[in-house]
Amino acid sequence: MSNAYYIFKKDVKSLFMSPLAYVVMAVFFCVSSFLLVAGMEEASMRGAFGLIATMLIFIMPFLTMRSFAEEFASGTDELLMTSPVTSGQLVAGKFMAVMALAGAIIALSGQYALIIGIYGDPDWGPALTGYAGLLLLSGALASLGVYCSSLTRSQPAAAVSAFGLALLLIVIRAAQSAVDALAASFTGSAAAEAVAKALSSVLETAGVLDHYFDFEKGVIDSTHVVYYVAFILLFLFFTARRLDSKRF
C-alpha cells in the first residue's frame, strides 16, 4: 500500500502548491461566513453545517477535476500507468489526496464552532456527529468527482460532469412521486407494480444529501454510514475499472 501513499504525497503537494486550492478555500470561507453571519438565529452548529454541506457540493468538483484529467492531458499518466503500481493503489492515493484537502477545509470550518462556542452554549454532541457527516458527504462527492476526472482529459468537463451528477443524485428523490403515480396506474400487472415499487424505494434512499441530515441532528444511523461508505467504494471501484480498461 506504500504505492498509494507515494501517489497521495505527490498529489497533496501539487494540490497545496497550486493557487486553485487557495482560491477554492477563499471562496468557501467568504461565502459561508457571509451566509452564516447573515442568517444566524441561534447559537448552534445546525445552520453552519447546512451551509458547509451546500458549499461542499459546489467546491468539491473543483478539487477533484484535476485528479486524473490533468495527468491524461500532460501525458504524465504514461509514467503512472507504466510503473509497477496497480489501478487500485493509484485511485486510493488520488482519492486520499482530495480528501486531505477537503478535510483541511472542513477542519478550518471549525472556527465557526469556536466562535459559536465563545458566544453561546451549543450542544457539542451534534457538532461532532455533524463533522462526521460532512466528512462522509465530502468523501462521496470526492469519489464521484475522481471518477468523472478519470473519464476525460479536460478538467472543465470533469468538474461540470461531477457537479451535474452530484446535483442529480441530490434531487433524485423528486422522481419518486412520478414513479409512484406510475405504480398506481399499473393496478393490472403485479410484476410491473413490484418493479415500480422497488424503483420507488431505491429512489427514496438514493439521495446523496438525504443521508446527511441525521448527522446534523446528532444522530448516527448505521444505514447512513453504510450508504456513504458503499457510495465511496462503488465510485472508486468504477474509477479503477476505468483505468484498467485503458491498460492492463
Partner: protein
C-alpha cells in the same frame, strides 16, 4: 528476453499494429524504424503496458505483461514520446517520486537519483523546476526517469526528437553507453539515428513488420549494388557514358538531369560491394575530362521503404 508475439491493435476501424512479432535479445540494442504513423508509438505503449493489445502478447522472460503487469513493469523502463514530467516539481524531487513508484528501496532512492542525474547530465539543474528547463534537459530527465530503477529493458520512444544537433549527439552517446549494460529498444524515423546506436533493426510499415535484420544485412539486402552520381565536363556527347560502362563492375549508366550546360550527369549503378569511384576518376582523368562531381548515393529511409514495400508487393503477387 522480451518477446512480442503477434501483437495487434485497432483504433476504431484503423489497424494501427497488425500481427507484429519479434524478439529482443538480452544485451542488444534494437532499433524500431518506421515512418510517422507506422505504429511505432502504439507498439511501444503496448510493450510498456500502457495500452492493452487487442490480440497477441508481450512476454518478458516468458512472463506475460497482461497477466503479471506489476512484476513485468518493475523490470521495464519507458520513455514515452513526450517525457512524462510534472512541471511543478524540481528535477530531483521528480526523480525521487519516480524512484518511489518504481519500487526502488527507500535507502537507495537518493543515491539512484544522484547516479542517473550524473549519467544523463542533468545534475546541474537538479534543483530547478521542470517547468523552467530546456527541451534538451526535459528529454534527459525523461530518460533519467526511465533508468531510475535500473530496469533490465529500456523502451525509448523517439528519444532525440525535437533536439538540436548537439543534444542529439549527447543523447546518442548516452544511449550507446547504456546499451553496453542494458537491453534497449529504440524507435526512430531517422535511419542514421538507428545506425548510430543499434545492432539490429525492425522496420515497421503500416503496422506490419517489413523487415528484421542487422545493419549490415539490411544494407546488403537493400543495395544489391551501389549507385554513384557522376558529373563530367569536356566529354563529347555519349562518350563518357560509354567509357564508364566499359569499367568492369559497372552495371549501368543512366543519364541524370543536367545542372549546367556543357556538362553531363549520370547515375552509375555498380555491382554489390564494388567501389567504382577510383576507376571512374582515372577514366575521366585519362580522357582529359573534368570531374565535377563524384558521390555515393546514400541509402535513405525513403529508399528502404520503397524497396521493402516493393519487395512485399512483388512477393504477394507470386
Amino acid at each position: 528476453m522480451l518477446e512480442v508475439k503477434n501483437v495487434t491493435k485497432n483504433y476504431g476501424g484503423l489497424r494501427a499494429v497488425d500481427g507484429v512479432s519479434f524478439r529482443l535479445e538480452k544485451g542488444e540494442a534494437l532499433g524500431l524504424l518506421g515512418p510517422n504513423a507506422a505504429g511505432k508509438t502504439t507498439l511501444m505503449r503496448i510493450m510498456a503496458g500502457y495500452l492493452p493489445a487487442d490480440d497477441g502478447s508481450v512476454l518478458l522472460d516468458g512472463m506475460d505483461i497482461a497477466e503479471s503487469p506489476v512484476a513485468v513493469k518493475r523490470r521495464l523502463g519507458y520513455l514515452p514520446e513526450i517525457p512524462p514530467l510534472y512541471n511543478d516539481m524540481t528535477v530531483k524531487s521528480y526523480l525521487l517520486f519516480a524512484a518511489e513508484i518504481k519500487g526502488v528501496p527507500r535507502q537507495s532512492r537518493a543515491s539512484r537519483a544522484d547516479e542517473v542525474m550524473e549519467r544523463t547530465g542533468v545534475a546541474d539543474v537538479a534543483g530547478r523546476l521542470i517547468r523552467n528547463i530546456s527541451k534538451g534537459y526535459r528529454q534527459r530527465v525523461g530518460l533519467a526517469q526511465a533508468m531510475i530503477h535500473n530496469p533490465d529493458v529500456l523502451i525509448l520512444d523517439e528519444p532525440t526528437v525535437g533536439l538540436d544537433p548537439n543534444q542529439i549527439i549527447e543523447i546518442r552517446n548516452l544511449i550507446k553507453e547504456l546499451s553496453e549494460t542494458n537491453t534497449i529498444l529504440l524507435s526512430s524515423h531517422i535511419l542514421t539515428e538507428v545506425s548510430a546506436t543499434c545492432d539490429r533493426v525492425v522496420i515497421l510499415n503500416e503496422g506490419r513488420v517489413a523487415a528484421v535484420d542487422t545493419q549490415e544485412g539490411l544494407a546488403r539486402r537493400l543495395r544489391g549494388g551501389d549507385a554513384l552520381t557522376v558529373e563530367v565536363a569536356g566529354a563529347k556527347p555519349g562518350e563518357a557514358a560509354q567509357a564508364f560502362l566499359s569499367i568492369d563492375g559497372v552495371d549501368g549508366v543512366e543519364p541524370a538531369p543536367e545542372v549546367a550546360p556543357g556538362s553531363e550527369r549520370f547515375t552509375v549503378s555498380c555491382r554489390a560491394g564494388f567501389d567504382a569511384r577510383g576507376p571512374i576518376f582515372h577514366k575521366a582523368a585519362a580522357s582529359g575530362w573534368t570531374l565535377l562531381e563524384l558521390s555515393r548515393d546514400s541509402i535513405s529511409l525513403e529508399d528502404v521503404f520503397i524497396k521493402l514495400t516493393a519487395d512485399e508487393e512483388a512477393s504477394s503477387d507470386e
